[in-house]
Amino acid sequence: MTQTASTTGQAQALNEVALAGQERREQWTLLGLSTPAILVIAIVVLVPVGWLFYLSFVGSDGEFSLEHYKKMIEYKSYARVFMTTFQVSLLTTLICILLGYPLAYFLAHLPGRWTGLFMLAVLLPFWTSLLVRTYAWLVLLQRKGLLNDLAMQIGLWDSPIKLVHNMTGTLIGMAHIMLPFLVLPLYGAMKKIEPDMMHAASNLGASPIRSFWNVYFPLSVSGLVAGALIVFVLCLGFYVTPAVLGGGRVVMVATQITAILEYRFDWGAASALGVVLLIATIGVLYLAGRFFKFDSALFGKG
């Protein structure tokens, strides 16, 4: 009896070793397969970013210098530009969540044949040029634009209100452009939630509101966080929409970088701004990650 047990134990141990070896081999094969992709990323991402870091430490005389970073501290405009950038990105993300969550919920609960049609309505603007959509908002929102004209005709307000060339216009345009980036991952997460879960919750006596907050919402959070992150990060580097709809009042980092390149030909100063934006973004994402535990949303861990 004892002998049989030890033989089984030996066989098991042997089996485990073999299995572990196989798993390792499999991992190496997979690594080998992804080598081309890793190399491409190293070349097209890491090298230019490294070059960017290098340039930001080269002064106007071609020597190593911290002048670009010193200037960012000396003049308050740089800090304000970063504040504006994060403010616009955060507000856009919030608006997208407020609009996108109910929209994704609606889409996820439509009967199959309608989903396609409404999904098309979400995606169609996504296929139109960014510039065209941005200018379309300008036509709608400006002083003598369609919206002001219409509202004044039916007597909603007497003199044109300022809807564009300011923060309001920028946020309207950005939210419109970013909405699909939030809705799509969220819709995917919601589609995966078993309807039986909600039935079970109400069967156990939960009110519809309670079962939504205790069951449905937590299950959809991974999609929400993934979507919100994409929106937030994309907003940070946005150029066209704030430039056109902000009327020069909403100066974001991308605008500042363009101005420095176009009017000062100062690659170092522009690189320094890029480096600070990159580090600030990583910092904010890290803090947010600590707060929301969204690595599960990003990397698909349980």
């Binding site: 400006q142 020069g248 009017y263």
Partner: protein
């Protein structure tokens, strides 16, 4: 045996190719690449300058749009220069020259003896004279010169006498501080003297800060100046005179004055290491001749830099008198000081960005 024939054939081909290359090098010069801006400006240069000059000299040109001194500098620094002649503002040329991005102009080839003074430097040759003016909605404030119409920068700043919205330049300090000082009572000939100190620059910035609540939009480009006036989005604006004339042709209710305007010029510059330097220099000499510049006013209301163009032009009198470089208009304007921009632009730019981001 077979192998040897193969080698011989390859040798023959190579010699043939080399001969063909040499012949193409001697018989025809390579086309030069001429880069200008888009929209009505580049189109006007095509019609007035480039097409005819190319025909008359036999120099073939590649015309590209999207001229930018920062892109030219990038080509020079990465040693991949493809542009031969690039259109730029005078300030941009001065900055690029200071960075070492430009070739020196060969004045033995390019004849500037009939040019207005200060419309060329060692590194660029003036192509046209334009003016940064104040323009306004004529329905709101009346036609230029009519009683009650705005006349000076002080009027631009006077929101009680001329209530309404304003538009001013975004992102760049070029042509931004001078109007503010004139509105603050500094005579035109003292503007750059006052601006050469930090206090002077701050005085101008503070004057703009005073107007800022009334500045509804900051414009970023000439196209945007025209659009803002066409849509009646703002009531008074600064900008480049030719853009407003073209907006007017498109039906915009816009007028402007040359009084206290900033006289400036655009020019051709050559990136250092331009691939067809000698041919491009000859082409530059050709387009700088008066007979070409004389045709420019038909297509855009920018004046010639070559005085002789006024003598040979066939354009009607009222068109000629509407040009910024016409002797009748010049005395009202303040010529932009490249010297000041070379010394103080970087500092002024930082100060203006402080104001814009507040």
């Amino acid at each position: 045996m077979k192998k040897r024939t193969g080698k011989g054939a390859v040798c023959g081909l190579m010699i043939g190719a080399a001969v063909a290359l040499m012949m193409s090098g001697t018989a025809y010069a390579d086309p030069i690449t001429v880069v200008s801006w888009g929209g009505t400006y580049g189109a006007a240069q095509d019609k007035a300058l480039f097409n005819d000059a190319s025909k008359n000299t036999g120099i073939e040109i590649n015309r590209e749009s999207g001229a930018s001194m920062s892109k030219a500098c990038l080509q020079v620094e990465s040693k991949a220069v493809t542009w031969d002649l690039v259109v730029t503002g005078s300030g941009g040329a001065a900055a690029a020259a200071a960075k070492g991005c430009l070739e020196k102009i060969d004045f033995n080839v390019v004849d500037v003896s009939d040019f207005y003074p200060n419309t060329y430097t060692d590194y660029c040759v003036g192509s046209d004279v334009f003016s940064t003016v104040m323009a306004w909605n004529t329905e709101k404030y009346g036609a230029p010169g009519s009683p009650g119409a705005p006349k000076s920068w002080a009027d631009f700043w006077d929101v009680e006498k001329f209530p309404g919205t304003r538009s001013y330049r975004a992102n760049s300090v070029d042509g931004v501080l001078e109007p503010a000082l004139m509105a603050d009572g500094v005579p035109a000939d003292k503007v750059y003297e006052v601006l050469s100190t930090r206090e002077g620059m701050e005085r101008a910035i503070n004057k703009i800060r005073e107007l800022k609540p009334h500045i509804a939009v900051f414009w970023e480009s000439g196209a945007m100046q025209a659009q803002l006036m066409k849509d009646a989005e703002v009531d008074m604006i600064t900008g480049w005179n030719g853009r407003f004339d073209n907006a007017k042709k498109d039906g915009a209710l816009v007028g402007y004055t040359f009084n206290q305007a900033l006289l400036d010029y655009d020019c051709f510059a050559m990136p250092k290491g331009a691939p067809n330097k000698d041919t491009a220099m000859k082409f530059l000499a050709e387009v700088s001749k008066p007979q070409y510049q004389a045709n420019l006013p038909y297509h855009i209301t920018y004046g010639p830099t070559n005085k002789k163009a006024y003598e040979v032009t066939t354009a009607p009198k009222e068109l000629i008198e509407a040009l910024p470089s016409h002797p009748k208009n010049v005395p009202f304007m303040l010529p932009v000081s490249l010297d000041w921009y070379a010394k103080h632009r970087a500092e002024a730019q930082e100060l203006y960005m402080e104001l814009l981001t507040q």
